[in-house]
Symmetry: C2
Subunit: 356 residues, 2 copies
């Protein structure tokens, strides 16, 4: 099949915060869509969504849903990704998955198109979309790696509620209204559905994203450390760069902020050099003008595909080390757009082999 004829596409998890955005990003993309199937859990089946002016009824996802499908764009959680995507691949589809289920599999490319599109060539059916906070960070780090070599990365995140899904986002807004009304805030989801206790996020900070590991790091922090290495150096345990992370949930609906401290190998690099490199980097918008109080903010990044970088400063006491502030829409570049962007790259490289 030539790309002119188009692909049979399925969106798995089509009704969630990310799924609805995958649909919208696909509508604006260069991918020729011959047919589109919207799949979700039985709870959402029967709902209707529009794609290019046509109503599409959401169907319950089963293995047979993928018969005849060329491309699956999935955002349905790790459990469904684990059971259904191999079924899709068995039926000849290529799947791009948003969950963490496949990211550390050595046979699965973990891809940010601005950074490591060449990893797609080795795919065996499943391609993993990285964690939202990792994606925007590596978009900002890769140009510095190319220009100066990377030595160390220390990141503190300021992550939006929508990263934990639509219900966490709704919970934040509900808690905020409770607080403003002088009521006690109720919490049923955050910091993470998978843990025992729940705390209010509105007007608060929660230094827990996902569950805790043995060493005291959360799974989110471990993901940032390992995924960054896999994307930049092909190995989640690469010693080519040191990475450590602290992940904090903040009372923001959309848009992750990151305070990134980066040490490059070339100690002669200046602040102006780093700004210049970032200004011309793919997917990056440099917003860095203190005189104009120009710097990235979540409310300005919402709805945009780019990663915004500003507040670039040299660590005066450590040559070759810099602070910077990185913001992106966690539901777009952190999820839906990066997924569709991977699919565009697969099309461009002719790596989707249609069965029809």
């Amino acid at each position: 099949m030539t790309s002119e004829a188009g692909y049979n596409v399925a969106i798995l998890g089509a009704t969630g915060a990310v799924g609805t955005r995958i649909l919208a990003q696909l509508e604006q993309s260069t991918i020729p869509v011959k047919s589109l199937k919207l799949l979700a859990s039985v709870r959402s089946a029967g709902q209707t969504r529009q794609f290019k002016g046509q109503d599409i009824v959401v169907e319950e996802a089963t293995p047979d849903s993928f018969d005849g499908i060329d491309l699956v764009l999935a955002s349905a959680g790790g459990s469904l990704a684990g059971s259904l995507l191999p079924e899709a691949v068995k039926r000849g589809a290529v799947a791009v998955d948003n969950s963490s289920r496949w990211r550390m599999d050595p046979k699965v490319p973990l891809v940010v198109p601005e950074v490591n599109p060449e990893a797609l060539a080795d795919h065996q059916g499943i391609i993993a979309n990285p964690n939202c906070s990792t994606i925007q960070m590596v978009v900002a780090l890769e140009p510095l790696r190319q220009a100066y070599g990377l030595n160390q990365v220390i990141v503190s995140t300021y992550q939006a509620a929508s990263g934990a899904g639509q219900r966490a986002w709704d919970e934040l807004l509900h808690q905020a209204q409770q607080h403003l009304d002088g009521e006690e805030e109720t919490a049923d989801i955050l910091p993470t559905k998978g843990d025992k206790k729940h705390y209010p996020l509105a007007f608060n900070l929660l230094p827990q994203i996902d569950v805790f590991q043995e060493d005291g790091y959360t799974f989110e922090e471990q993901k940032m450390m390992q995924e960054t290495k896999k994307i930049l150096f092909g190995d989640p345990h690469s010693s080519e760069v040191k990475v450590t992370a602290t992940a904090v949930r903040v009372p923001v609906p959309i848009g992750h902020g990151e305070s990134v401290y980066v040490s490059v190998d070339d100690e002669t690099a200046t602040r102006e050099d780093v700004q210049r490199v970032l200004a011309s980097a793919p997917g990056v918008v440099l917003e860095d003008n203190p005189d104009e109080q120009l710097y990235p903010q979540p409310i300005k990044a919402e709805g945009k595909r780019e990663t915004f970088v500003g507040r670039v400063r040299a660590d005066i006491e450590n040559p070759g080390s810099f602070n910077m502030w990185v913001v992106s829409d966690n539901l777009l570049k952190g999820a839906a757009w990066n997924t569709v962007q991977i699919a565009e790259e697969l099309v461009k490289r002719d790596l989707i082999h249609s069965q029809v």
Copy 2:
């Protein structure tokens, strides 16, 4: 005068977010108060406040207000601190000041009582209270310095709106209601009164606190770097420890969070060692139990005097380096309580020389 007889005390800036808390902290303190004068700008003069059951009328602050005063607790901004506190000292008073006006003066001790109370001995009338975000950080760093020696500190702050005053705090809550009502958020104060543009903080992040310096750092970030060195090593430009900071305002009313990366000299120090040292450190409460999802949160720290530390983790790739998460009530330990605590220490060391 013996301390039994008590001191004539004045609170300068008595009606602000910090001033009202200085009053409350003084009421609970061990300082024997013989008389109390409440001073403010002409705008607030005539208001009434209670102290130990007695009504006190707020007076306009003038140089002569300090006649007969032994101790001034000031939170009135840098300009008034610059003009009025020397007048108070000239009249024989000792002044503890919350503004940044005197902090870098080599003749002025910059004091956190858990860390460097001995610096009080050299005072020449004015003692400076450090910046709120600096105070809670050095409370957590000093025990590590004593135990292992400090090499490097990299901090990213998550600072509450009340750090910019009562009006910024009110603005945050007003913006939040606007957002929830679907209205456009209005901004007149934040990120900082002293700059041209204003942006909404509610449901957003503002990586600017105070005005920008030549090197791209904000004044807040510079304060954290220089004050930390002055408090820990007696010199704002000390090379005994490297410090770099990124300061971000978050939509939280009270309670600053800090993601602190610290490298100690003793590379054999373990995570458990650091936790043990922090658990027994003065002014610190270790809240660090991942199994119980116990970690510091602003809403739990509000109204408390202590600095809460948790999420202690070893940087697996850098021996002797640790991540930790530090939270404290910025209006209490970050301001009012630290001020009254300094005054208690002055009393204990008999460093207030009453004129009566």
